[in-house]
């Protein structure tokens, strides 16, 4: 019996247990404010999941996930804002305060909820597909690609900040009412909001896990290992890289929509470089090679950060930075790798105690070169 960590059934059981625990939470907690906060952690979990899929699994470091998250968030905010506009009050205050007395072309799709939601998710996904496609076809990868994502993130931040009349500038958009979906109002401070995020996180995790176990997943791992070798096997590497980057972006875009549903506000801060990189930190500390590890990493870090509050924020960030350095230097696969190592030890202990005879036709294990 090999290392339990790699056993697929054991993994699915662990995932099921994790989500079961998350599902019990609203029944155990009465505090709606706390539920809302936990739901935001769920959103961060989705972001960490998306990074883990793209970076840990796919080997593509994306420092600009805030683009997908932010564009999804703005799309949702625009949809929610337009939901509150009526016949007598058709133009959002953002435009009116900036001297515009008509609804800009950019906002038209968001007048309809269904179309707005589709655009909120589709536009960032399309961006990832196009940007990723262009970059990967040009064989831009590794740290270079990471810098490119930072540049694009900065570009988006700058343009959103600048175009005040269209985006609300530095103040962002604050939809005055909760999100309405098919006649149901999803109050941010309610179990319904929590469940919405829960099911989104569950679905995203299951899809991501299935992807890692598919043929596509195998090729993607191979590309992470040695992209050139995989080319010579006949695979169009750029296609695979673009695909995993785009799926990761899709998850982040959905997370963005859910976030605005929960906090009823969006601003350029969602496209801040620091925020995008913190998603990477969550995944790195939790364990980027483990989807569930990354999610837990996000929960723990963001949870600790809220708990410590503003008073200790500087100290906390200092410690976090230091811890991050230690992880990168000594434990690159994060805390999940500690579990992996522990289970590995357990497995070898079991092997020596049961004394299984080795197969006779194999040579003695040869030491690595």
């Amino acid at each position: 019996m090999g290392n339990l960590y790699y056993n697929k059934t054991a993994q699915w059981i662990a995932y099921a247990a994790f989500f079961a625990a998350l599902a019990i939470v609203p029944m155990a907690i009465d505090d709606d404010f706390l539920l809302n906060q936990l739901a935001t952690y769920g959103v961060y979990g989705m972001l960490a999941l998306s990074i883990s899929l793209c970076w840990g699994f796919g080997g593509i470091l994306n420092l600009g996930q805030g683009i997908a998250f932010g564009l999804g968030a703005y799309g949702m905010a625009m949809t929610m804002q337009m939901q509150t506009q009526t016949e007598s009050n058709p133009i959002p205050p953002i435009m009116l305060n900036n001297g515009l007395d008509y609804l800009p072309f950019l906002w038209w799709p968001f007048q309809n909820t269904a179309v707005g939601l589709i655009f909120a998710v589709a536009v960032p996904t399309l961006f990832c597909a196009v940007f990723g496609g262009i970059m990967f076809r040009a064989r831009v990868s590794g740290p270079f690609f990471a810098i490119m994502t930072l540049a694009m993130l900065s570009a988006f931040y700058t343009i959103i900040l600048d175009q005040q009349a269209y985006t609300g500038g530095v103040n962002g958009i604050t939809p005055p009412a909760p999100f309405q979906f098919a006649g149901i109002e999803i109050e941010p401070y309610s179990p319904l909001a929590y469940w919405t995020v829960f099911f989104a996180l569950l679905t995203a995790t299951v899809i991501a896990k299935l992807i890692t176990q598919s043929s596509f997943g195998l090729v993607t791992q191979a590309i992470r290992d040695d992209a050139e070798r995989v080319r010579f096997l006949g695979y169009g590497v750029a296609g695979y890289e673009t695909m995993i980057y785009t799926i990761s972006g899709l998850i982040a875009a959905v997370a963005g929509c859910l976030w605005v549903m929960l906090v009823q506000y969006v601003s350029p801060a969602q496209l801040d470089v620091g925020f995008s990189i913190s998603m990477v930190i969550w995944a790195a500390i939790g364990g980027r090679m483990s989807l569930i590890g990354s999610i837990i990493g996000a929960f723990v870090i963001q949870g600790a950060q809220s708990y410590l509050g503003d008073a200790f924020l500087s100290t906390w960030l200092l410690i976090l930075g230091g811890f991050f350095i230690i992880i990168v230097r000594f434990l690159p696969n994060g805390l999940a790798s500690l579990l992996e190592a522990a289970l590995g030890l357990l497995a070898t202990k079991k092997k020596t105690t049961t004394k299984t005879p080795r197969e006779s036709n194999c040579a003695e294990p040869v030491p690595a070169e």
Binding site: L61, I134, M135, A138, R139, V140, G142, P143, F144, A146, I147, M148, L150, A151, M152, S154, A155, T158, I159, L161, D162, V273, G274, I277, V280, I281, A284, S314, T315, L317, L318, L320, G321, G322, F324, I325, V328, R329, P332
Partner: protein, 291 residues
């Protein structure tokens, strides 16, 4: 369109270029020599500003001496960083990027805890606060100083890398670390010194930027992405960074003249991404094997 304001924009462009170049110089050297993406570069700039502030306010050191002093102080910080962390990560470029980001967090928060978040100001000699008039255009004297320092530094670096023995060693290690070592060059020492040099240059930039902008713990973060883009557009070479900064500085000023600062920045970013898509190796890529 007034000729004077166009000329002003062009001259301002040269100044912007010199600012971006001096911010990118340290990074060029570090990235060029060792392939290290130092995400803490902005915070090293910030440290330079704070060093100057501290020397000035607590030790009464005149501003002009603060500049070389900042070079030494931040250079030492860079040395410690290289020996303590960077040297273990040379064969892991993505991890270097992330680890240095961690360092940037530590430095920023550390400074915040020590100095507080309130803005600090660097006092400069009276004469620097004046403007120089050139016919219809005018430019602040300090910006001229920045330009002069930048030019001086570029010259000094050029001499160092192409006219000294140390420079030959650095270029040898850049080309092929193993080969250089077999010729008796201590590659580790070369990496250490180049990193310290790069950090020191960031310190100088900081002591200048602290005058142009106010001194805050967050002042450095806006420079990293910008500086990086100059380095990659330039291709990692000194000449590349000079040309890249020159061109983008001018373009920033010209675009800002027609639209506004923020939109100009956006255009520059987009242009850079497009440029790098077609020429990922940058303007003047360094010859020889990358480690």
């Amino acid at each position: 369109m007034e000729f004077g304001s166009v000329l002003n924009a062009l001259i301002l462009g040269v100044s912007i270029a010199s600012i971006w170049l001096i911010a990118a110089l340290g990074l060029t050297i570090i990235y060029g020599a060792a392939g290290v993406i130092n995400m803490a570069h902005g915070e090293l700039i910030m440290l330079g500003a704070y060093s100057s502030y501290m020397l000035q306010h607590h030790f009464g050191v005149p501003y002009l001496l603060c500049i070389p002093a900042s070079f030494v102080i931040v250079g030492l910080v860079g040395l410690i960083l290289e020996r303590g962390l960077i040297q273990y990560l040379y064969n892991r470029p993505l991890d270097t990027l992330l680890a240095t980001y961690g360092v940037s967090l530590v430095l920023m928060q550390g400074v915040r805890l020590i100095f507080g978040s309130d803005p600090k100001y660097l006092a400069v000699p009276e004469v620097f606060s004046t403007n120089i008039s050139l016919g219809f255009a005018s430019i602040s004297t300090f910006r001229v100083i920045v330009f002069a320092v930048t030019a001086l530094l570029v010259l000094a670096i050029w001499v160092l890398f192409y006219k000294t023995r140390f420079g030959v060693q650095v270029r040898a290690v850049m080309q092929n670390k193993e080969m250089a070592s077999s010729f008796g060059i201590n590659a580790n020492r070369v990496y250490m010194l180049t990193f310290a040099l790069g950090a020191g240059l960031a310190g100088v930039a900081g002591s200048l930027f602290g005058v142009l902008n106010i001194v805050l713990p967050t002042m450095g973060s806006s420079y990293v992405v910008q500086a990086f883009l100059m380095v990659v557009v330039g291709g990692g070479s000194l000449a590349g960074s000079v040309v890249a900064s020159g061109v983008t500085g001018e373009l920033q000023s010209v675009f800002a003249f027609f639209t506004n600062d923020t939109f100009a920045r956006f255009l520059i970013f987009v242009l850079i991404v497009v440029f790098l898509r077609f020429r990922p190796q940058g303007l003047f890529a360094k010859a020889g094997a990358r480690r």
